[in-house]
Amino acid sequence: MMNPQNPVILYVEDEVRSRRVMQMMAASIHITHLTIFEDSHNFIERVKALDPQPEVIFLDIHLMPLNGFEMLALLRETPQYQKTPIVAMTASVMSEEIHQLRTAGFNGCISKPIDLDTFPDSLRRICEGETIWRIV
C-alpha cells in the first residue's frame, strides 16, 4: 500500500533547475523514492522497468520527444497505470492550457513556480486520490 507521507514518485522534467528544486523539496519532506527522467525517450519502457513502481507521477508538459499529454496517453493505455495519480507540473498555466490539462485527464496540476509551503499537503491529498488544481 502507498504511504501518502512517502510515496514512490516519478518526475519527468527536462529543465535542470526544476529537477533540483524537486530533489530538494523531496529531501526536505523525507521522500525516499524519487526517480527523475530528463527526457521522454522510450518513456513507457523505462517506466515499466522501474523498481519500485511509481505511485505518483509528475509530468512536465513541454519536453521531447514526447510531451506531457503524449506521456499521459501512453500511461493511461497501460493497464497498470490507469489508476495511478498523474499530475502535470508545468509553467504553462494560462487558462487555455489548464483547460487542455483538465480535458486530457490529468489528476491535477501544480503550477511552477512550485509553492514549497503547500506542496506537502497537495502531495498527500493527491496520494489519497484527490484531484488538485493548484494554480498560483
Binding site: S18, A91, V93, M94, E96, E97
Partner: protein, 459 residues
C-alpha cells in the same frame, strides 16, 4: 519653386465618348466586363454602318406617299430600335433592351413578309444579321441567338421567295413560330435576366462573404498567434521564477547551511519580490488578453460555487496570517451550481477576497452568497478603510489605483479591472458600495445559467 501640375491630361472628348459607349454597366463584373466592352464596341461600329447601308434607298421609301413599307425601310426601323435599345443597354435594364434588339429584326422580317414587296438588299440583310448576332452575344443568351438565327433565316427565305399580298398560309406558320418564340424568348429572358441578376448578386455576395471569411480567418490566426505568444511568455517567465523563489527559500530556511538573521531577512525579500513578480506577470498577461479581446472562457455546466468559495476563503485566511481578522461566512443552503468558467470565477473570488484581506487591518471580512432569482449574488464586506466616492470609479479602471491602494498594498492595480472583465464576460456585474472610513462591500451578480455562455464539450 515652381509647382508642377501632376494631374493627368484630361482625355479628349472623342476618347471620352468612346469610353462612355463601351463601358459596360457596373453590374457586369470580372472577365465578362471586358467581353461585354468588346461587343459593345463592335455594335458601336457596325450599327451606323448598317444604318448607312440601308439609308440611301430606304429613307424615302419609309415615308413615301404610297404608304407601302419597303423591306429596306423595315430594316431601318429595326436599326432605329437597335439604336434606342443600345443606350438602354447601359442601364440596369440592359438585358431587356437587348431582347428588344433581337425582337425588332423579327418584327422587321414580319413587316417585309406582310407587305410582300421588294426583298431587302443583301447588304442590309448582312448588317441586320450582324446586329442580331452581336446583340445576342452581348446578352450572352443562347435562346436569343437561336431566335435571332430563326429571324435571319426567315428574312433570307423572304429574299429568295417574293410573296404575294396577302401572305399564304405556308408563310404564316414560320412567322407565327418566329414571333411566338421571340415573345417567349423576351418573356423568359426578362425572367432569365432577373435570374441572371440574382445569380450575379448571389455571386457577389458569395465573393464578399469569402472576403469577410478570409479576414475573419486572418483575425483568428492573429488572435491565435497572440494567445500562443502570451502563453509562451507566461511559461518562459514562470520557469526561472521557480528556481529564483525556491532556491532562495532553501537558502533562507537553512537547508543548505546556516544564515544569519539579516541574510534571512534579505532572502525573504527576494522571495516576496519573486512572488510579487509572479502576480504581476499573471495580471499583465490577463490584462493584455482582455485588452486584445481574446479572453476565452472555458464554460462548464454544474460549476460548484460553494467549493470555489470555500477554496478562496481558505486562501484568504492564509493571506490574513497574523492579522486579527474574523471571517464570517454565510453561504445559502440552496446555492445553485453555475454555468461558468470554474477557473475564472475562482480567480474573480480570490481577487475580491484577497483585496478585502489586504486592505483590512482588523475587524472582519464577511462573505455572503445567496440565490437571487435567476442570479447568484455574492458579497464581500470588509471593515477596512473604505473607498472615497471620488476614488470608486477608478477602482475598476486598468492602471489606476487609489492613493490608499498604492500606499497600503502595492500591486498592479489590475486585479479589480480584470475581475470586472471576468465577471462581465460571464454576463454578470461587479460593483462596490463604500463610505470612506466605514469599510467597503464588493457585490458580484452572476447569472446561474446564461444563454450566451456555451459549455465546452469534453471529449
Amino acid at each position: 519653386m515652381v509647382l508642377q501640375d501632376t494631374s493627368p491630361t484630361p482625355p479628349n472628348r472623342l476618347v471620352k465618348l468612346w469610353q462612355f459607349l463601351t463601358t459596360p454597366h457596373p453590374s457586369v463584373a470580372g472577365e465578362e466586363r471586358q467581353k461585354t466592352s468588346v461587343l459593345m464596341a463592335l455594335l458601336v461600329v457596325f450599327i451606323p454602318l448598317a444604318a448607312l447601308s440601308v439609308f440611301n434607298t430606304s429613307i424615302i421609301a419609309l415615308f413615301n406617299r404610297t404608304g407601302n413599307v419597303s423591306p429596306n425601310s423595315s430594316a431601318v426601323i429595326a436599326l432605329i430600335f437597335v439604336f434606342i435599345a443600345y443606350p438602354l443597354s447601359r442601364t440596369r435594364y440592359h438585358q431587356i433592351a437587348g431582347y428588344l434588339v433581337v425582337f425588332m429584326p423579327i418584327l422587321a422580317v414580319t413587316a417585309i413578309t406582310l407587305t410582300g414587296l421588294t426583298p431587302p438588299s443583301p447588304i442590309a440583310l448582312f448588317f441586320l444579321t450582324l446586329s442580331v448576332i452581336l446583340s445576342g452575344l452581348l446578352l450572352n443568351a443562347k435562346t436569343t441567338v437561336i431566335v435571332g438565327v430563326i429571324a435571319v433565316l426567315i428574312s433570307i427565305t423572304a429574299y429568295f421567295m417574293p410573296i404575294a399580298n396577302p401572305i399564304p398560309i405556308v408563310w404564316s406558320i414560320p412567322l407565327f413560330i418566329a414571333i411566338t418564340t421571340g415573345v417567349m424568348a423576351v418573356v423568359s429572358n426578362i425572367n432569365g435576366g432577373y435570374v441572371l441578376t440574382l445569380e450575379k448578386t448571389q455571386q457577389s455576395l458569395k465573393e464578399q462573404y469569402e472576403i469577410a471569411d478570409k479576414a475573419r480567418e486572418r483575425a483568428e490566426k492573429s488572435d491565435q498567434v497572440k494567445s500562443a505568444f502570451l502563453a509562451s511568455m507566461s511559461h518562459e517567465l514562470r520557469t526561472p521564477l521557480n528556481a529564483i523563489i525556491n532556491f532562495t527559500k532553501f537558502v533562507s530556511n537553512g537547508t543548505v547551511g546556516s544564515v544569519n538573521s539579516e541574510q534571512e531577512e534579505m532572502l525573504n525579500e527576494v522571495i516576496d519580490s519573486g512572488k510579487h513578480l509572479l502576480n504581476l506577470i499573471n495580471d499583465v498577461l490577463d490584462m493584455s488578453k482582455i485588452e486584445a479581446g481574446s479572453l476565452t472562457l472555458f464554460v462548464e455546466d454544474n460549476v460548484d460555487l460553494r467549493a470555489i468559495l470555500t477554496s478562496s476563503i481558505n486562501t484568504g485566511k492564509a493571506l490574513a496570517k497574523d492579522k486579527p481578522l474574523r471571517f464570517d461566512v454565510q453561504i445559502a443552503d440552496d446555492l445553485p451550481v453555475l454555468r461558468a468558467d470554474r477557473q475564472r470565477i475562482l480567480q474573480a473570488m480570490l481577487n475580491v477576497l484577497s483585496n478585502a484581506v489586504k486592505f483590512t487591518e482588523a475587524g472582519s471580512v464577511k462573505i455572503v452568497a445567496a440565490r437571487n432569482g435567476d442570479d447568484v449574488l455574492l458579497e464581500v464586506i470588509d471593515t477596512g478603510p473604505g473607498i472615497a466616492p471620488e476614488d470608486q470609479a477608478g477602482v475598476f479602471e486598468a492602471f489606476k489605483q487609489t492613493k490608499t491602494g498604492l500606499r497600503l498594498a502595492g500591486g498592479t492595480g489590475l486585479g479589480m479591472p480584470i475581475t470586472k472583465s471576468l465577471v462581465e464576460a460571464h454576463g454578470g456585474r461587479l460593483w462596490l458600495t463604500s463610505e470612506a472610513g466605514k469599510g467597503a462591500t464588493f457585490h458580484i451578480r452572476l447569472p446561474i445559467k446564461s444563454d450566451t455562455l456555451v459549455p465546452m464539450t469534453h471529449n
